[in-house]
């Protein structure tokens, strides 16, 4: 496993979407560019804020190794994320990285495997890097992305470059109306592996669908964290191994490891 590091990254670009989201492109100067695995996250320091005292765990949205850039896709929900949305080019941002374990990548000899990546809301963020990583290894991922409204469906053009994209919205203005688990694509039941990230209730219904149909499934959890490195034991999830740190043993778990009522 790669050594964890702490360093200041430089903001190259900060793009705001729909006032509720921002895409931060960060670069690392004077240090070797780290290796990130899809599903891993970074701990972002929010400077000089008494309200955002702890670091914010943010998943790796995309990695452009050629440009030495790390992308973070952020939903602006509170003090910490608002701070991130206000960062300007050349500002510095302190990160601890890379953290956690990534999604499992199938054996490259099984390129015909049908991989379904299901994202909900901002939970779709890590699926872009996962999709790109799979694509680079010869797989053709399929994306199913759900959101509250068409304004919450993000980076669709980028997802489209990597595979077929299906969408759902609760208001029906983009893709099928309803939740991801209601999408007609799932009636075909022909996925060989499902990766999912999103709100817990959504992941629970995806996990149920996967279990009912005998499809292996991995979920990425976002439990409340403090340290992000397995020291504080705050972010634990009930698993078959007992209370387990999401930050170090996760954030990605196979659904068979979880004590969920699937």
């Amino acid at each position: 496993m790669m050594k964890k590091r702490i360093a200041n990254w430089k903001v190259k670009e900060n793009i705001t979407f729909n006032q509720n989201y921002c895409l931060l492109k960060l670069t690392l100067e004077d240090e070797p560019f780290p290796e990130f695995l899809p599903g891993q996250f970074v701990q972002v320091k929010i400077d000089n804020s008494e309200k955002a005292f702890l670091r914010r765990p943010i998943s790796v949205h995309y990695v452009d190794e050629k440009e030495r850039e790390l992308y973070l896709l952020i939903q602006i929900v509170g003090t910490g994320t608002r701070y991130l949305s206000c960062l300007q080019p050349d500002d510095s941002l302190n990160l601890i990285y890379p953290l956690g374990n990534g999604f499992s990548i199938p054996d490259p000899s099984k390129k015909s495997k049908k991989l379904l990546l299901i994202g909900g809301g901002i939970g779709s963020a890590p699926l872009l890097y996962l999709g790109a990583f799979l694509r680079e290894r010869g797989f053709t991922p399929t994306f199913l992305i759900g959101a509250r409204s068409e304004r919450d469906l993000l980076q669709l053009e980028e997802f489209n470059k990597l595979g077929t994209v299906y969408t759902t919205t609760e208001n029906g203005r983009s893709g099928e109306k309803g939740y991801v688990v209601d999408h007609s694509l799932l009636r075909k039941k022909d996925a060989d592996f499902i990766y999912t990230c999103g709100p817990n209730l959504m992941m629970l219904s995806v996990a149920r669908y996967a279990r009912e149909n005998g499809i292996p499934c991995e979920v990425s959890l976002e439990n409340r964290m403090a340290c992000g490195i397995g020291a504080c034991l705050c972010c634990v999830e009930h698993t078959i191994y007992g209370n387990t740190c999401v930050c170090t043993k996760g954030p990605v778990f196979n659904i068979n490891e979880l004590e969920w009522q699937i």
């Binding site: 964890k4 008494e50 670091r55 340290c227 020291a231 504080c232 034991l233 705050c234």
Partner: protein, 303 residues
């Protein structure tokens, strides 16, 4: 370069910067970020006689300049510590100390005896102040006769350096400190977390699964400083000060209030390399102030 070395009981520490139990795992979690040997010592995660699963999630909530936790002493028990953790950490060139927790006096004693058998553990920190366990824990640290009983029982079987960690959730911390000193503790550490609570107004529910939890972080520093100051005047044994320390200046403030050494706790989560920075900051401060040894600074407030 000033002399940073200090003594606590039979312990010799290369500097007064230690890390607080429960915020530093077993040390190894931080090995990627700094040379652990540069610290005075490490208090590893609270260890109990039997394994504990800890409390249900959510166990943590952020608060202004701090956080509440209700981890509940999750650990795999002292036997696991001895078989699986100790071999991994015993060669780290610093003082590795175990925080011993329990629900009954017998548990504290039995756990202590097992730790006593480990050559490379020169001290224990008796945790009579955990606010997040149903039985024992803080109950021992908020009542003079209970504190006296547990310290006496442990002192009888433990002849290395015995540090007792005190709870701030009392009317007068100096009373407990004096009782603990009278029972033969070599040092006291204070403060553990302050009992607190957080509520989700929209859902009209407490946020933590346990309703209450322990408050830590810079928000508790003034309370901790005050308690160190009061206790320094009440006891003769050394005090290890902690509570919201996040930089060298905070550390110096605790030493001036009467702490011989300090622990860094919650801020390890924000900056996992902070202990080394605090060591360097203390050294520069002493040089700048023309103080030869950090020992001269203890309780060194100018009247």
């Amino acid at each position: 370069m000033a002399d940073l070395s200090i003594h606590i009981g039979k312990l010799e520490l290369k500097n007064p910067v230690l890390t607080a139990s429960g915020t530093f795992g077993y040390g190894l979690e931080y090995a990627d970020f700094m040379d652990l040997a540069r610290m005075g010592g490490i208090f590893v995660k609270g260890t109990t006689l039997h394994p504990r699963e800890g409390n249900d999630y959510p166990r943590m909530v952020e608060t202004p300049s701090g956080m509440l936790n209700a981890v509940g002493l999750q650990n795999k028990g002292v036997d696991y510590f001895i078989s699986d953790i100790y071999p991994e950490i015993k060669e780290i060139d610093t003082n590795i100390m175990v925080n011993v927790s329990g629900s009954t006096v017998e548990d504290y004693v039995a756990c202590t005896e097992k730790i006593d058998a480990l050559d490379k553990i020169p001290a224990i920190e008796l945790n009579i102040s955990c606010p997040n366990v149903k039985q024992g824990g803080m109950a021992f640290g908020t009542n003079c006769s209970a504190a006296s009983e547990v310290v006496r029982a442990v002192r009888k079987v433990y002849h290395k350096t015995l540090i007792v960690k005190l709870s701030p959730n009392v009317t007068d911390i100096t009373e407990i400190a004096q009782v603990v000193e009278a029972e033969g503790a070599d040092a006291i550490s204070l403060i553990n977390t302050l009992l607190g609570m957080a509520i989700d107004a929209e859902r009209r529910k407490p946020i933590l699964s346990t309703i209450t939890g322990g408050l830590s972080g810079p928000c508790i520093k003034p309370v901790a400083l005050r308690m160190v100051y009061q206790t320094y005047k009440a006891v003769k044994i050394p005090i290890i000060g902690l509570g919201g320390i996040s930089n060298w200046k905070d550390a110096i403030e605790f030493i001036l209030a009467g702490a011989t050494a300090i622990q860094i706790g919650t801020y390890n989560f924000i900056d996992p390399a902070i202990p080394v920075k605090v060591v360097e900051g203390i050294n520069e401060y002493l040089d700048r102030q023309g103080v030869c040894s950090v020992r001269e600074l203890v309780g060194g407030l100018i009247a």
